[in-house]
Symmetry: C2
Subunit: 145 residues, 2 copies
């Protein structure tokens, strides 16, 4: 963004991406969801350089998506937990995952199952008002002012 007057800052997509707009951040969130909450777990799972991981973690923390919590005083050990905002972002990751599976999905891929039914989760984005999947009904844009 940061370019056009009738658009600058009024785009909610951009607002979202300001906080999580890079690949590592999203993968970190995904791993924390999987239960990899500690620095060393994240580092080895992601194969990310330590300085980069540290920066991503503090960015996510500044952005309010995760929180550092000390779970042991001696030795001093911290874990990173999702905040409400971070948890709210997870469905988006699942939607991205569904897209990735569809359009870039060679080989066997990991997936989520509904714990109760055992069925593979199939994420779709719908409009709460109509219940219809987004894309199935024509939309209009509305810009402020």
């Amino acid at each position: 963004m940061t370019g056009d007057e009738n658009n600058l800052g009024t785009c909610p997509v951009d607002r979202g991406l300001m906080r999580v707009g890079d690949r590592w951040s999203m993968l970190v969130l995904r791993d924390i969801e999987r239960g990899l909450t500690r620095y060393e777990q994240l580092r080895t799972s992601l194969g990310i350089a330590p300085n980069i991981l540290a920066r991503r973690l503090s960015a996510l923390s500044d952005g309010g998506l995760i929180e550092k919590r000390r779970y042991s005083q001696r030795p001093p050990r911290d874990e990173y937990l999702l905040t409400d905002a971070g948890r709210d972002f997870l469905p988006i990751l699942m939607a991205i995952g569904a897209w990735g599976r569809k359009y870039n999905g060679g080989g066997a891929l990991a997936r989520h199952l509904d714990a109760e039914t055992g069925e593979a989760v199939r994420p779709v984005v719908i409009d709460t008002n109509t219940g219809a999947p987004i894309g199935s009904r024509p939309l209009r844009f509305e810009y402020p002012e």
Copy 2:
């Protein structure tokens, strides 16, 4: 990714992000959806450097999310259109937008209205199987092999 064996390449989120995992790519898709299909329109709307835009456009094109189409021979003019894969990504952008509005939404923001009902679209990610919003039911992970 590219780090852990039990995970390398099997994560659908990562597969998705391989193709669109950066901010500009997503904003380009959003703008094309808005009808800004030409290079110059995108450049001024996004305020992006011309070389960067060119690179993003060819990456998106290589990734199969957009297509370059010549709409005029003389003068030679092209536009960029969404492919099916690109269109399928739009609901994710709307979900990101909804998240951005909720957690980073100061001031008046642009939005989508349902063309028929006129109501503001409220995107949510649900599981098609159960119809329940993702996050409202416990899930399990399943890894290949």
